[in-house]
Amino acid sequence: MHNKIIELKHLTKNFGEQQVLKGIDLNIYENEFLTLLGPSGCGKTTTLRIIAGFEEPSGGEVLFNGVDISKVPAYKREVNTVFQKYALFPFLNVYDNVAFGLKIKKKSKSFIDEKVKKTLKLVGLEGFDKRNVTLLSGGQQQRVAIARALVNEPKVLLLDEPLGALDAKLRKEMQSELKKIQKEVGITFIFVTHDQEEALSMSDTVVVMNEGIIQQIGSPVDIYNEPENRFVAGFIGESNIIPDAVMKRDLLVSFDGFDFDCVDKGFKENEEVEVVLRPEDIDIVDVENSKIKGKVKSIIFKGVHYEIVVETQYRDYLIHTTDYFETGLHVGLSFGPEDIHVMYKM
């Protein structure tokens, strides 16, 4: 992860009146697993399609190894794509689908044969050569699509919500498989998804997007623990967002009528801020021992934990805990300074 392979410089894209990308700046490094994460319509797929060459940007530059490729047609780019619905050629069998790119490049028969066999093995489809692609399961079609892209040895592999059509169990399986493949071939993966859990578990870097703007770039841990704004906090996992907190001074934040020690600094004195409290970071304690008090409004069993809503004077808090508390019980809420995440107001 040292050299930049792709640089997006103030990329914009308009579809008619609508501006779907409002200035994207992003560096993508060699051998990185980068995920573009966001709700539908946030511009993540458009960004990917611009890198692939299926869309031309309205403004800005796409640098590939330092060279602007925004005018280079898709078929001349050193990237390959795994499409959302796989886009396998229905009139070709598994082998010929995978061999398509190499045949276009007029490689020798023995070279093609060796590469295709090797790649099919990599994705776990040994011996599927002659199978009709339209009769394969979703997971198998997915693997063919990955093999068809990887066999060309691209420098960057683009994946457009490739797991969207698979069921939950298969998805999990493919997630770790994809990660394994990426490590094995050692190239950059750019992965588009709207599933935050998928993004957090696979990526080296997560890019959270909304309404054509990058909200935050960071490691999965950073994104989860230190969301930069309310959108990121709300989109990544469940959270309690307190929109009306005030930063008294460095390391001291005030909300719900109390001052709390925190670990954030660098804000102006008395700046209005927003605070995120993750449901699993809040403990339910005796009423006497806490600043914030309330009563249990509801409790839902979720398998591993209970999901409890505590009603307080200012707002409802969502709490995840393995302990059971009866509805109507008066309780106190407690959290440490490191559990409080202060964000700039949007």
Partner: protein, 275 residues
């Protein structure tokens, strides 16, 4: 469910009366002799034997030749037209398809008469040629006139199935081909054309069927002496009054068309892969 089965009955009766019985009659006529009244009939294969005479075989070969040429031109123009139509917005597409089908609302006879006035010795084309200082040319009563008439008449039957196939193509397949390094020409031959084959096969079958069996167009644009198999059948029924021989030719034509359709079906990837 059971109630609705009854609804099929009128159609069944209609089919038997109007399709099955006439077909059986044609088969009977073709293998008998003894006039058109079916009163004192005798079994014979002489009707088929008669067709083997050079004069009739020539007509048959000529029909196939004209048919194949017509299909080729229909395919060439029809594919390009359908392909171009697919490049427009959806609204423009349906409008253009409407334009393609509009001529079909007008009677074939009228359209053929229109071609006569365009191609005749002092028709529109020759008037323009003379105005330009060129020698007038004879178009009427030639193969050229017949083929022009047929191609213009049958083109919609080629355009529509091809257009339907092309417009159904998933655009991500085209993008996938580009993504894998295929330029526009390679993508067309390796992906687009293959995906449009079902439409091509249907179009060829329909236009071939129409062009080997037509008799109005060759009669009007080819002249009284111009004989294609459709005209031969018509003459046998209308002028000569030999229904037995006419039926035999119809049977032969039907078999040839059936064979052609079977061959074409084999080329259609959707139908062929039954193994």
């Amino acid at each position: 469910m059971k109630h609705y089965v009854k609804l099929v009955r009128p159609y069944l009766i209609w089919s038997v009366l109007m399709i099955v019985i006439p077909l059986i009659l044609i088969v009977i006529y073709s293998v008998t002799t003894g006039g058109n009244t079916l009163v004192n009939i005798q079994f014979t294969l002489s009707n088929f034997k008669k067709f083997a005479e050079p004069i009739y075989l020539q007509v048959f070969m000529k029909s196939l030749q004209i048919g194949v040429i017509t299909v080729l031109f229909c395919f060439l123009f029809g594919y390009i037209l359908a392909y171009k139509i697919c490049k427009f917005s959806e609204r423009a597409q349906s409008f253009m398809i409407l334009l393609v089908t509009i001529p079909m609302w007008i009677n074939t006879l009228l359209r053929t008469y229109a071609w006569m006035s365009i191609l005749s010795d002092n028709g529109i084309v020759n008037t323009i040629l003379t105005k330009l200082g060129l020698d007038p040319m004879t178009f009427m009563y030639t193969d050229f006139a017949v083929i022009v008439g047929m191609v213009s008449d049958f083109l919609p039957f080629m355009v529509i199935p091809i257009y339907t196939s092309l417009s159904k193509i998933d655009h991500s397949l085209i993008e996938a081909a580009h993504d894998l390094g295929a330029n526009n020409v390679q993508t067309f031959f390796k992906v687009t054309f293959k995906l449009s084959l079902p439409g091509v096969v249907n179009g060829i079958m329909m236009t071939f069927l129409l062009s080997v069996s037509t008799f109005v167009i060759p009669k009007l644009l080819g002249g009284g002496q111009y004989m294609l198999i459709g005209n031969l059948i018509e003459t046998q029924f209308i002028s000569v009054g030999n229904w037995n021989f006419g039926s035999a030719i119809s049977m032969i034509l039907a078999v040839v068309i059936l064979i052609a359709i079977t061959i074409m079906r084999r080329m259609d990837p959707d139908d062929a892969e039954e193994d």
